[in-house]
């Protein structure tokens, strides 16, 4: 079972409320799809500048695995107040700990609402139905 302290997007990002901020990352499923289980298959990750304003669903970064470049999209709107730049140099963190040390951006959200996003249980069902 995936962590139930956060919400999930169908595009395999997660968002977790942390006080007045929200932290965003990608799920273990996304990492598995990108890397095929090999840490070394993740090659590059570009994260945005602090201060950028994001709309819900907007692309905030890009990640390259061996053979594919994929967008990173935010499940919620807000202003980026911190990025986890350590993962740009240590992409293996995404494989070993996508839920905590593998967080990507922290935002000051436009709204506290997480409507439309899935619980961990619903995300599991979504994965089971789609794959």
């Amino acid at each position: 079972m995936r962590p139930d302290d956060r919400k999930y997007a169908p595009t395999h990002e997660w968002v977790k409320i942390d006080g007045d901020t929200m932290v965003i990352g990608i799920t273990d499923f996304a990492v598995q799809e990108l890397s095929n289980g090999n840490d070394s298959d993740l090659v590059y990750c570009d994260l945005p500048e602090v201060g950028r304003i994001l709309d819900k669903g907007e692309t905030f970064g890009e990640i390259e695995s061996v053979k594919a470049v994929s967008d990173l999209n935010t499940p919620v709107a807000g202003e980026i107040i911190e990025i986890n730049s350590s993962i740009e140099e240590h992409l293996e963190i995404l494989s070993t700990d996508p839920w905590n040390n593998g967080w990507m951006i922290r935002i000051k959200p436009t709204s506290k609402s997480l409507d439309g996003l899935m619980s961990a249980e619903d995300y599991e069902k979504h994965l089971a139905a789609a794959h």
């Binding site: 595009t11 090659v43 590059y44 594919a68």
Partner: protein
């Protein structure tokens, strides 16, 4: 039977080639599309994340662009270039990226076999075409690459964006001065054209995947969008962004 669109643009400009692929990727209403194309002038394309300084020979090619797909640089000369754009949930692309490569490469290998080329996935074997310091796609291999004669012969890369997938493929007919000692489909240089191999790829794909390919042209909107997007690919700020 599923119907795909087939677009052929032989000898198109590098800006238009790249702009059209991005326009197709961004058109969520577009049917699944196979493009067959070549380049004029010959063009060196860098992978999306590559450092410009890490690629040798940028002064040799007639033009230099940066792709939106990943991987290494490719000198687009003496090759059939193709792209397949579809929804990420399409049966060709669903699931792990590695699985999508296996499906596409199964079709490409079958097409090459029609011309007597026995291409296989590299697997764990070592290739004589691998090099450490050229930055070229054909000098760097992974287990999913198509190889023959102990060398890499097909370059592949993908871009996944907003629920859509663009798969780029380059099948070498002849080697270039930037891509020495790679596998080529027509070593004699006189037996096979891009158009012939493209025709074989079309029929083979249709047979294996059970789809009908209908020749068509980009829509007016796609063409306009291709020209609009295309200029970025030649912009030094983009080409040299890393």
């Amino acid at each position: 039977m599923e119907t795909w669109r087939l677009i052929t643009t032989w000898g198109a400009s590098p800006a238009f080639n790249m702009g059209l692929d991005e326009a197709l990727l961004g058109n969520s209403q577009a049917p699944t599309t196979l493009r067959l194309y070549s380049w004029s002038p010959d063009t060196l394309s860098l992978g999306y994340f590559q450092r410009f300084a890490d690629v040798r020979g940028t002064e040799v090619a007639g033009s230099v662009v940066r792709r939106i797909t990943g991987g290494g640089a490719i000198h687009h000369t003496g090759e059939l270039t193709f792209s397949i754009v579809a929804d990420a949930g399409h049966r060709l692309y669903a699931g792990p990226i590695s699985a999508s490569y296996r499906r596409v490469h199964h079709v490409v290998a079958a097409a090459l076999a029609e011309h007597g080329v026995q291409a296989e996935l590299r697997g764990a074997r070592a290739l004589t075409s691998d090099r450490e310091d050229t930055g070229m796609c054909f000098h760097h291999s992974t287990e999913l690459d198509l190889v023959w004669d102990g060398r890499k012969g097909v370059g592949s890369a993908q871009r996944r964006k907003s629920g859509r997938v663009l798969h780029h493929g380059s099948i070498k007919l002849h080697s270039s001065e930037l891509e020495g000692d790679i596998a080529v489909a027509d070593p004699s240089g006189s037996q096979l054209s891009e158009q012939q191999l493209g025709g074989t790829l079309r029929t083979t794909l249709g047979r294996i995947l059970g789809v009908r390919l209908e020749s068509d042209a980009p829509t007016a909107e796609e063409r306009a969008r291709a020209h609009e997007l295309g200029s970025r690919y030649l912009d030094p700020a983009f080409v040299r962004r890393r």
